[in-house]
Point group: D2
Chain length 334, copies 4
């Protein structure tokens, strides 16, 4: 950590500050410049409150040098993590195609869609049973029944299943779900993160609407610090002033997260745009910038979907898109 | 709800759409303009998926006319809600001054601060026992012990206590807390909102970092739909491109929320700015635009605070500020 | 335009408003709903102040139905515009590769780079002679000399040249420049837009850092209303809370602008990210979502560049990228 | 400037970098930490490209220590600047009340409003003659005639006049205008800034919609570097995800700018909110956080205003507000 003092600081005040840092168990390198004095703090600065130091009268600014995320940091773990879900691998050159409806609506619906997306090339099935909805008056999901229908769809197709968990108290119901999804609104529900960190299931962690990449990585850190290292990061759009799409898909996050972390990074173009006809373009773009997979909403009857029909592709549209994706994958993986 | 059709839509397609709306139990007013046809949907449009309709080929745009929040809507409840916490009233002309440390650190600390802020004019005590922290390696709060120390401080001073709850499973521990706070990161933790909606305690609901005012009101609606109408809204800064303060305090939310809703609106200048020396200015500004109260961090030794020391006022600074606040209140309440 | 009245409005007040609209020469369709009355305004609503109407006591909300951009609107001009710059075509299936240094630094520099990018497959040369810099103390460009060096580079390579114009008073100096660039900071410098709208040169119009797509199209409209229909739109990143890259590249703008307008849309991944090592990923992503071209910074010695060296590719990196771009183009243009 | 090297950097590479810095005329302090080596650069680092250094293979991060703004920096000029416009003073405890219509519409209109706002306590008159409008089809202002009417209003009332200049070529027309306003959209129109920096007139510089405080100060620097030190900063709302008001008024900018700079800071609640009924609240809030003045839109007939009627107060509303403002001023200036 670097502490820059204000120009006019007296030697006495400076020495008092240095003593305080030493009390905290830190080493201090003093560098006296022409205009300003700079203190370099050495040791375990994790417990030092940067904001507090920055607010002191004699301090001009404080700069952190080392990142606070460890487990997911590529610096300490240079090789790509490969998450395995049954036979499906994600990361390290393995591309995954997750598809399915926003909500599970019936056994027939989910089985039909599962078969269709498998046929088109998907290798994992998504479907919401517990739905986070802005309004208490909106459809909240089929809950336990929805999870049961997902299991049936897995039996019929062999596709592993992904579903969102909203509360740690529901964990027993998710016993038989292959990948637990943490939604954007829960990215900083730290209690939930700790609980899923204590399971041995792969976690699909979505970036919050207003969260930085470092915060996303710190949330992954909550899960990994609990011993669960099977985390898949997911970019799904951020909230900006721009309002022609539901959110603004931040694709540059893909190469940047790959640089910062060894975890796989997938993209959700359906929630990012909220508009089905924009999904294929953004899915292709995500593939071209080397995402490790895509999670895409597919519904056999978007017009009657109970939730997010506007952003769902029809199975035949998904099949056509999947072909393009494979062609782009060939170009970028050369 | 208003549905605007594209210019070139055939009569047949139009009539098909109208039939579908009628199937959904809606009345449809057709208005044929020079360039475009507009459909006005009448009836219970709450279950209609606006986004889906907007995505249909023949539809140009969809506009919602009526708000989806009911319980907290001033249209249906013109008089100000006054939340009562013991003898303290909030809203409808009653200004509340909540103060205290970010975290409860010890019995002595919280009792000392409680006495100091009461002396300065505060009428409620805040203190965190369960702390949402971005990093799993940061101090997470004293938990049950912290709540116990808060109760002791209440006994000593008579000040009602406010503390943040992060998980519904902690509710039994909060039995004796006067006001439950829902933090910004949990504003859309819908399971938690439902659970506190089932209690009979006043809820202090903080606006999320990237949430619109309508989303804040929808979250209040989750609580109120459960039967608990004692909700206090809190503006605490939003996330924008501007990075010189921790967040951007959106004070215009105060008069706007007062217009949209009958619930009281308070402001948290400490978390909004993250910088103690900016807190007095913003507290005075919040009072001048008619907030119903302030929640401000006060610590007797900010330099040694375990959390957010940078944004805490010292008791003597708080006392000086409280005087100014009272003087401004006199001006604005005339 | 749709005007929704508040629930409790008297008939008298309503009729007064209707009379006023009729005075303004508009037709008014009245639709009385169960809860609210809706007025549909018909005729030339371009001169009506939506914000003013929305602020009236008896009005709940106002919704615009028709877009205010005409010349660049795909509704009135369904076919893609193809901009021609000498032999180079942009739009309608024609992909353009613009490359070159941020600033022209010397004759030798620009000629060397021009040859290198042409060799790699670029078909247009960019180079700044007038530089908009945040600080008055930064290098401001070689000005007339820079434009002269660009002309020499064109002579040597045959590549048409693109350069940014910051002030209408410089127009005579740009007589011999092939494409005039309007930078992001000048996107709403309306006087400059009018002046370049009076020329017969193609205009490369960059989206402002905080401008919506509609505002970008309204700025194109300023140029086109002056008679110059050769406008190329350019997405180059917007300003958001996310700060790991200089700006947030909003790639979804590409398919969305293609839907709203017939003008070609190119992408500038260099300014959007500000980091050379992220440029190839984002250039490939832009190609995959069907941008009509790329404008990329290339410098033969980024470490000694006078401006924006951090975001410049070396010629050999650009050549490698150009190959990938061509391969992706083949996939997406099938 | 601080340069942090990556952990694994070889001594050879490090020494090469140090040599390069020395070539650039800089002193280098080397501080070898347990995990990382830090270089402190001493001397004139203004010409060093931070982004470029940050992009080098062996560099982890670069931190700037000293601000790049000089003339407007409070560090080098601790006393408040007081801008004088005739008898009116702004800054250093002098509060100014600027009021008037968005656009000058006629001699009668501007004279009537000028008299009314003077009566209410305003000490300067605003009025737009050249209007920046998003659409080329909107009213663009009365131009030279508008300025003439403003002069007449000044004669009648003695109020100095403020008007926006959009292009340096209009400067001769503004010869007799007391304060030149640079609008938000032109905050980084650097050519215009340089030109007004060469005049001897006070400049009212509005913050751009997506500009940081440092960028605002750098734009003030452009003006001051030209020798004109009479700059008034103006906060008028920034663009965020929040869309219930036209912009988000960032009032914390007021105390923060006062800390960073000695220049006076005023607030424009009319453009920030775009809604007349929110203006009084935000004007009072701005006064309470110690702005040096307010610029407020007042129109005698907002319903027929040619521009921005929605945000204009009526003269009687302004008079009532002005009284409140004076009462708050008494509280905060004690």
């Amino acid at each position: 950590m670097i502490v820059v003092l204000k120009p006019q600081v007296t030697e006495e005040k400076r020495d008092e500050l240095i003593s305080w840092f030493k009390e905290l168990g830190l080493g201090v390198h003093v560098s006296v410049g022409k205009f300003q004095t700079i203190l370099g703090l050495i040791g375990d600065t994790a417990t030092v409150d940067m904001d507090l130091i920055g607010s002191l009268d004699i301090v001009d600014s404080v700069k952190q040098i080392t990142e606070s995320f460890k487990c997911c940091n590529r610096k300490f773990h240079p090789d790509d993590t490969i998450v395995e879900v049954g036979d499906v691998k994600i990361g390290g050159g393995n591309f995954c195609m997750i598809a399915g409806p926003c909500s599970v609506e019936s056994e027939e619906q989910i089985v039909t869609i599962a078969k269709a997306v498998k046929e088109a090339g998907a290798n994992m099935l998504r479907g919401g049973a517990f739905k986070p909805r802005t309004s208490p008056y909106d459809f909240q999901g089929l809950k336990a029944d929805g999870l049961e229908f997902l299991r049936i769809a897995r039996e019929e197709t062999g596709l592993p299943i992904v579903s969102e968990i909203m509360s740690a108290s529901d964990l027993p119901l998710f016993e038989d779900v292959d990948v637990l999804q943490i939604g954007a609104r829960n990215m900083q529900n730290f209690d939930l993160l700790k609980e899923v960190g204590a399971t041995n299931k792969p976690i699909l962690l979505k970036r919050g609407l207003a969260n930085s990449l470092k915060e996303l990585l710190m949330s992954a850190e909550y899960i990994m610090a609990g011993g669960n290292e099977q985390v898949i990061l997911c970019e799904r759009g951020i909230r900006t002033f721009s309002d022609y799409t539901r959110n603004t898909l931040d694709l540059t996050a893909v190469p940047m997260l790959h640089e910062l972390s060894h975890l796989p990074v997938i993209v959700d173009p359906s929630h990012a745009t909220g508009i089905a006809r924009l999904v294929p373009s953004m899915a292709m773009a995500a593939t071209a910038c080397k995402a490790d997979g895509l999670i895409i909403e597919v519904h056999n009857d978007p017009r009657h979907a109970l939730c997010d029909g506007a952003q769902s592709l029809k199975p035949e549209e998904y099949a056509k898109l999947a072909e393009k994706i494979r062609a782009i994958l060939e170009v970028v993986s050369e």
